[in-house]
Structures are given as C-alpha cells and as structure tokens.
Subunit: 332 residues, 2 copies
C-alpha cells in the first residue's frame, strides 16, 4: 500500500504538503490538492483517520430496503456489523444515491472520507459506480454483482446454480416433470444466472426446459398475463419463480383462477424473504442466508485488507420446505 512519501516522490513535493493537501489545509492551492488526491488514488493510498481508534468501513445500500427487520438488507447489514465491529472497525451505513455517484468518483470518496474498504449492496448494472469499481483501488466487496479481473474486488452471493438445482431436484422428487419457470428481467446478472441454471438443471435431470414452460419479463404483470397462461395451458404441475415476490404474485393469481395450492399446482420461490412465512400457503423456497452473507462480506474484506485477493465467494443455498409445494396430482 502506498505511503505519503510515495505520493510526495511522485509529485516532487514535500511529505508535509501531501499531508496538508489530504487534510484540506487552507494554505495549499486547490490545484495541488487535486493532484495530490489524484496521485493518492492512482498509487492506491489509503489514510487511517487521525486520532481515530478504529478503521472505518463504508457500507453502501441502494435499490434495497434495509431499515426494518423484515427487509432483505437488514440481516445482511447486521451480519456485517456483528463481525466487523467487534474486530475494531467502525461501520458507516450510507444510502447511496445517483447524485452522490455523479458528484464523486468512488476511490476519491473513499480516500477523502477515510474509509479503508467498502461493501456495496444492491447496485444495478446501470449504476455509475459499478463501472468505476471495475478498476478501483479500494478494497471492495460487491453483493450480487460479478466483476472479473480487478484484484481489489470480491464478488459475494449465493450459489444460484446450486439453489436452482436443489429446487428442480426437490420438485422432481415430488413427482413433477412438467416444471415451469417464470423470471424477472434477464438483464440482471443474478436472474440470468438462475434462468440458465434452470435450463441446465432440467437438462441434467432429463426434463424439458423450453419456451413452452419458461417465461421472463421485467414486469410482474406481464409475467402473469403473457407467460403464466401458457405454462398452465401446457400443463405445468409446478412453477419455480426467479424470486419470492414473483412467486407470491403467481400464487395469488393461481388462487384467483380457482387452482388449489399445492393440490393442483405447486409454486416455489427463491431468496426466502421474511414474507414467505406469512403467505397463504407459506411459500416453499431456496434460502439466501442473509446474516451469513453479511458475515462473509466482512470476512472477504478482511482478507482483501490482508492482501489475500478473493475474487468470488458463493454461499451454499438451502431448501426451505413450507406448504406451497406438494406431490404431483396426476389426472387419471
């Protein structure tokens, strides 16, 4: 990791000037401050805040609810904090806005604010910082975004292939052969992974996965109106959904059509959001262990700070059996 001396040498100025520039002293010109900051970023310098007992970590959240115990992000953040804070780190949870991303470069922000590492939750592919993180110098953990080739970045998430495989095997063990799949937007890396994993798992299970039993759209309503009727017409006896919210909507729609769950049709979700226990019937799903995700993120970050460059870290999936799936009801 670069030091103040490295920055001073690179710019041909004194170490004192570098230090003052980084601390925003008034007797250093704006131009010098800017070039010191740029050089600090280029060389990969991180400053430990003065007189601070702890090192600071930034946990950014966007596109995700996290303030209440029933929100997906709540447990992830708790898992991160309950491992990071006893280890002597201060964790700032920062709601990330588009404006912030336009106002600041990621590395600049981290250095100026004295963060030695970042954990980012919920970034969509169109988020400006996601492009910057492909080349960032700050040790950084991404949840559910997979970036290759930057040794400072670890991608963490659940093993989606394992999860989908578990779901297909489970439904097959209940006698289902016509298994449908409904998905949200395939421009999302995660939904694409799950979609591809479904095709693979069906194929290795000797079952057919083609357009007659699969459908994807960004809008839940379009899934319900354009794809679900086709799956039902093609006599799917079970439908696996890319995520629980979609599964819940499919469940309600099927009930409205007079179908019994699971007697007439089994519905299965993915994620195990807290809602799943309270749907009618309670939703069978694949669990992402949210607290473990947060703990893993801190573990990966500590390894990054110790120069152990983890690239990808996938948690095991877990099948959660509730009441929305049952044995196939063969029509005689």
């Amino acid at each position: 990791m670069a030091t103040l001396d490295d920055i001073a040498r690179e710019l041909g100025v004194s170490k004192g000037t570098v230090s003052k520039a980084l601390n925003g002293a008034k007797d250093v010109s704006q131009k010098t401050k800017q070039s010191v900051l740029e050089t600090a970023v280029k060389l990969g310098y991180f400053r430990a805040p003065r007189n601070a007992p702890s090192q600071k970590l930034a946990l950014f959240v966007i596109n995700m609810e996290y303030k209440k115990p029933e929100d997906f992000g709540y447990d992830v953040i708790s898992g991160f904090r309950i491992t990071a804070e006893p280890a002597g780190f201060l964790v700032d949870v920062i709601p990330l806005t588009r404006q912030m991303q336009f106002d600041w470069h990621y590395d600049d922000f981290m250095i100026r604010e004295g963060y030695c590492g970042g954990f980012l939750l919920g970034l969509s592919l169109s988020e400006p910082w996601l492009n910057e993180i492909a080349d960032c110098k700050t040790p950084t953990i991404l949840y559910d975004n997979y970036i290759r080739g930057n040794p400072r970045v670890t991608s963490i998430g659940i093993d989606n292939e394992e999860g989908i495989e578990m779901a297909v095997h489970y439904l097959q063990s209940l006698g289902h052969q016509k298994i449908g799949y409904l998905s949200s937007d395939l421009n999302s890396q995660v939904y694409r992974k799950r979609y591809d994993a479904f095709i693979k798992a069906m194929s290795t299970s000797g079952l057919v996965a083609d357009d007659s039993v699969m459908g994807a759209d960004f809008h839940v309503n379009i899934c319900l109106t354009n794809h679900l009727p086709r799956l039902l017409k093609n006599e799917c006896t079970a439908i696996l959904c890319s995520h629980d919210v979609l599964a819940h909507s499919v469940m309600i729609h099927c009930l409205e059509l007079g179908l019994r769950i699971p007697e007439d049709i089994s519905i299965m979700g993915f994620d195990d959001i807290p809602l799943c226990r309270y749907t009618a019937p309670p939703l069978t799903t694949i669990r992402q262990k949210r607290t473990s995700l947060g703990k893993s993120a801190f573990s990966a970050l500590i390894n990054q700070l110790n120069h152990v460059p983890m690239g990808t870290l996938l948690l095991h999936a877990e099948l959660i059996e509730r009441a929305s799936c049952g044995p196939v009801n063969r029509k005689d």
Copy 2:
C-alpha cells in the same frame, strides 16, 4: 452442533456411557462404542479433545509434493498454518494414503482423532474419500475439487476462467491471433474448466478455438507427438498450456525443433510453480497465489466452524510476465 446429550437421547443410553464410549473406555462393549460413534457422525457431533488448549485441524495431502520450498504444496500449507496457528489451532499435516481411505471412513477418522475440521489438498476424482465428503458432517475445505450441495464443504481454488481470459487477452494484445492450447487430462475438473474457459475466452475475443489449434492428453509425450505438430503446422504463433510442467516440455520440444522463443513462437503456462523462473527463457504464466490459497482455506474453515456456509471461494488470478512470450512475428 450435536452434544453428548443428543447422542445419549438418540440411543437411549446415559450421557456417561456416550462419553466413555467416545473415549474408548474398557467397560463399554465394542458394539456400544460402534453405535455411539455412528450416531455421533450421523448427528454431526464434534468433540473438543480433553484438556487440550487448542482445537485440532487436519491438513491432508495426496498426489502433491509439499516438503521443500520449491514444491507447490509448501506455500499452500504455510499459508494455512500461519493463519491457523496464531488463532489457537493445532494443525497436523497428514500424508493421505489410499490404504488410510480404505481403512477409515472420513467422518469416523475425524471424530476419533479429535479433529474439528479438515483441509484436503490434491485429491483426484477417484479418491475414495472424495465420495464420502459429498455427504460428510465434518467442516471440510477442498482445494481444486468442486462439490455442490453439502453445506459443510467449501471448495477453494483459483478463478480458472479469469486466469485463462487474462492469458488470451495478453497474447492477443501482443498481436497473436492463431493461439494454440495444449492440455493435460480432461477428466480432471480443473483442466476441464481451463479448457472450456479457453474456448469461451477465444470466442469472446473473436478468435477461433477448434481442433486445429487445440489438443489434450493425459501423457505429456502424447501432447508433444500427436498434438503439437498439428498446432505448429496450422501456424499457431503462441501456445497456451494447461499447466507449467506441460509448457516447459513444449518449450524444450520447440527449441529442439529449432524454433526461437519468443521470436518464432510464444509459450505460456498456468500455475506459476517455482520452476518458472528458472526455465530458459523464464516462463510467462498465470499465478495461483499459493500462500493466499492456504490463508483462504483457513478463513473458509473458520467460517464453517462459525456456521457461515461458504460453498465456493475463488482467488483472483495474476498474470506474471517473463520472457517466453513476445510480439507476434508476422511473416512477410
């Protein structure tokens, strides 16, 4: 994690009997000892050795040299020990034999010997314990074997796709378009991953990867006599090899044929074994960070022991530029 009480309840015997059975007391019958042990394994019980200040971890090695600093396993084991031992664990390094695997079931061995976790290096697909580990109860880390679906097992290794992608991009940046690929046995999970990754990376780079430029065989000599001539005849200007030892043989063979390296042909390896610095010319390759692999294995094991079920952990690859690759020499 199961307790002595759980085992006693399951078998309908006293806790004292269970404890005595596990400690090999003479006044407990062999039959009882056996059923206590089996129940302990079934319930996932691990015993902390009596009066032992530390918990014990077993590091098994097979099919891999590890005793000298120039051996591949040496740094992996060091990386594991330098993180595990300061954390209060005793690490036993155990050469694993076929006989041991026939004599013992993996979980039985771990419980009887008082190990709370295992790290296994170098298991081939035909190793008897690999099948047992698919359902084992002991927290276990596998290097370069990828097992899905058992929450107690973490697979660690380098990101082979990232490494092969780096290699192809690097050779392409030197002007190479006809890039050959030679591989060891494709029944190995790792060599298969690298082989498939080569086809993918070539395709996304707009280059052709087919039988005219690719070859694989378990025997290095067959690679040299059956595949290398085809690659040379088809005017490959660079050859990427699945691992350094093969690359080294290819290099010697090319030199014997009167080809200059890298002027006439670029040769590139994978792994960065210590030998690579001393070949003539020194071998350009993709590094597996061996010490980091060992450290990651311990990190994954600690997470397993804390019930954070990591499934897959991939380290970043790193391009190591030496002298065996150069700009393409276009014939006029």
